[in-house]
Symmetry: C2
Subunit: 352 residues, 2 copies
C-alpha cells in the first residue's frame, strides 16, 4: 500500500519518507505520500475484539470498543506529524550514526485527522487531573537490543488534557490506513511523531513518564560520547524547524524557493528567513495562511541570487522569540534526533 | 531604594541590572539586588482609592479593591523575571542599537511571589473563555515618540487561565516595593518581563492582542533594516537562554563556572553545556535542583582548560529538544531583543 514515489529506508518494518519535490505541493499531504515510521510489523487487528483500555489513576477504569468511542463528540483537526529523526542525514554526515535510518527532510507530513478528544475520554474515565502523565501502548511490537518490546510512550497530563490531542480513526477524510495505525491512533500536535502511538491499545494515567523502551531508553538526546539513556533527556515537544522543498532559478538572477516550517508545542511560526549569502543577509519569505500551533506553514520566497551564489539556507522564528541554530555539527547527538539547524540546499546551475 | 551595587542605565525612569558576581549566589535573588526595568516614573498609588477593573468580554465586570482581592485563594510561586532586552550589549557590539539601554546578562532575577491566581479573578468575573487575549494596563506612563502613553500589553487567554499566572502583592515575603509594582503586579512566568505589568490598573478580556504601544509598536522582533512594527512580531513567551555569572581557575588547570539557565513558556531546562574550545566539545554542567517551567536553574561546572584556553561558552537545552544559537550576529534585530546566543566570557589569566 505504499506509493511508488516514497523513499524507502526499510521495507519490514516499513520506514519511508516523502520526496521533497512532492512534499510541499499543498498544505495537506496526500495520505499515500505521507511518510511512514514503523518500529515493527503492522499488527493485524480484529475489530470485533478490539478494546482500548483506560486505567491507572482513574476513578472509572474503561475497556472501550470502537462503538463506545463513537459516543464522544467527533472533531476534526489539522496537525503535522514529524519524526524525531527527520534530517538525521545532515548529522550523520558530521559523524556517522550507525543503526539509524538516515532520514532526509521528508519524514514529515500534514493531515486532517478525525476522531474524538483524548481529554473527553480521560475525563469520562475520571482521570486524576493531578497525576502527571498518561502512558500509551500500541499493538505493535519491535525487536530492540535482542528483545521483543511493545511500542509505547507518554505525554504530560497537562498536554493530554488540552483541546488538541485526538484519538483519531480518520486521516484526510478516510479511515486510517493500516500503516498509519488502523483502527485508532493518538495524534499529539506539536510533539515528536513517536508520541502519536498507532494501533492504540492501552492508556494509563500515572505519576511518572512511561517506563516503556521508546520513552525511557530511546528517543532521548544524549551528550556526544554517551550511550547511557540515563545521561539523556526524553524528547516530547518539538523544536522549531524548517526546510527547503524546492528551489528554481527564474529570469533575471532571481531564485524562487518553497518549503515548510513547523514550531513545537503551542508555539507558532512567526517568520521564515531565506539567505543566499550564508546568513549575512536574509529575505523574509511569504507564509501561506495563518500560523497555527501544531501545524506546519508552507512558505515561498523570491530573492536575487548574485552571480556565484551556490546555496540557499532557510531558518524560521517562532512566537517564543526563537530562531534555529546555524550548524548541524553543534547539534550532533548519538541517536541523531532533533536536527533543527538551518536547512541548506544547492542552487541549480544558472542557465547561460 | 536601589542597592548601591546595581548597574544603573538610567535614573529616571530607573533602569538597573544586577552585577553578575552577585546574581547567581542563591536560587532566589534578594529583592534589593533585583533588576528594575521601568518605562516611566514610579506612580504614586493611593491605596484607599486603588481599584483593579476587570472588563471586556466578561459576564460580571468588576472594580476590585485590595480587600476584594483578599477573598481569593492565596498562593505562592517561584518565578523568574527577565527583560526582553537582557544581553542586548552583545547585539549592540555587532551593530549599534541607538536609544536602547545596553543591558548585560543581569536583567534577570528569580523571586518568590505571593498573591492570587489570575484565573480565579477572571473566572469570578465570568470571562468568556473563548475570547483569545487578556490586555492589561498599569498606572505608569511613559514618554515614547514624543507622546505620553500608558504602559500595557496582553497575553493569550489560554496562558492567563493557566495555574501559574499571579496577581502578586508580595515579593520574597515582603510587600511589593514601589519600583516593582506596589500594590499589585502581574507575574507571567515564562514570558518576557514586559508582560508582567506593574502597578496593575485594568484587565480587559478581548478578541485581539492589546493595541497598547508596548505590545503593538515595541517589544517586537523586526527584520534587520526595518523600523515598521507591522514587519515584526510581538514577543511573549521567552526563548531558551543561559549565562555565565562567574568563572574562576582552580589548581591543576581546572576551571569552575557558575551561571543560570531559563527556558520559556512551559518548557524546562534539561541540560547545560559548557565549552572551553569554542564548541568543539562540551562538558555537562551540574544543575542545582529540579527544573520547573518559569523558573531559572542555577548550574555549576568544573572542566579542564588546556594551556592557551581563553574563553568559556555556555548553552542550554530544553524539553522541546532545542538548544541555543551560537552567534549573536545571526540574532541581531533593530530593537535588540531576545538575544539567546551562547554566552561567552573570558577566562581569568592563569597564575604562573
Amino acid at each position: 500500500v505504499k506509493h511508488e514515489s516514497l523513499i524507502v529506508w526499510t521495507d519490514e518494518p516499513l520506514n519511508a519518507e516523502t520526496p521533497l519535490d512532492l512534499l510541499c505541493r499543498a498544505p495537506v499531504t496526500p495520505t499515500e505520500l505521507f511518510y511512514v515510521r514503523n518500529h515493527g510489523p503492522v499488527p493485524a487487528v480484529d475489530l470485533a475484539s478490539y478494546r482500548l483500555t483506560v486505567g491507572g489513576l482513574v476513578g472509572r477504569p474503561r475497556s472501550l470498543t470502537l462503538d463506545d468511542l463513537g459516543r464522544f463528540e467527533r472533531v476534526m483537526a489539522t496537525a503535522t506529524m514529524i519524526c524525531a529523526g527527520n534530517r538525521r542525514d545532515e548529522l550523520a554526515r558530521v559523524t556517522p550514526i550507525p543503526g539509524q535510518a538516515p532520514w532526509g527532510p521528508g519524514a514529515v507530513g500534514n493531515a486532517v485527522w478525525g476522531g474524538v478528544r483524548l481529554r473527553d475520554v480521560l475525563r469520562d474515565a475520571g482521570a486524576d487531573e493531578s497525576a502527571g502523565h498518561v502512558a500509551f501502548t500500541g499493538l505493535d511490537e519491535a525487536a530492540e537490543d535482542g528483545e521483543v518490546v511493545e511500542f509505547g510512550g507518554s505525554i504530560p497530563l497537562e498536554k493530554a488534557l488540552g483541546p488538541d490531542v485526538l484519538l483519531a480513526d480518520e486521516m484526510n477524510g478516510e479511515p486510517l490506513p493500516p500503516e498509519h495505525g488502523h483502527p485508532l491512533r493518538l495524534v499529539v500536535p506539536g510533539y515528536i511523531g513517536a508520541r502519536s502511538v498507532k494501533w492504540l491499545s492501552t492508556m494509563t494515567v500515572q505519576r511518572e513518564p512511561s517506563a516503556n523502551f521508546f520513552q525511557s531508553r530511546t528517543y532521548r538526546i544524549l551528550p556526544p560520547g554517551s550511550s547511557d539513556p540515563e545521561d539523556g533527556f526524553a524528547l516530547g515537544e518539538l523544536p522549531l524547524s524548517s526546510a527547503v522543498c524546492r528551489v528554481e532559478r527564474l529570469a533575471g538572477g532571481i531564485v524562487r524557493a518553497r518549503g515548510y516550517a513547523i514550531a513545537g508545542g503551542t508555539r507558532r511560526v512567526e517568520r521564515v528567513d531565506v539567505s543566499v549569502d550564508g546568513g549575512a543577509t536574509f529575505a523574509t519569505a511569504s507564509l501561506a495562511g495563518e500560523a497555527q500551533p501544531g501545524a506546519w506553514l508552507l512558505w515561498e520566497a523570491e530573492l536575487a541570487a548574485p552571480a556565484g551564489t551556490t546555496e540557499l539556507a532557510v531558518r524560521a522564528w517562532d512566537s517564543a522569540g526563537s530562531t534555529q541554530p546555524e550548524d548541524p555539527a553543534r547539534l550532533w547527538n548519538p541517536k541523531g534526533y532533533a536536527n533543527n539547524a538551518w536547512h541548506r540546499v544547492r542552487l541549480p546551475a544558472a542557465s547561460s
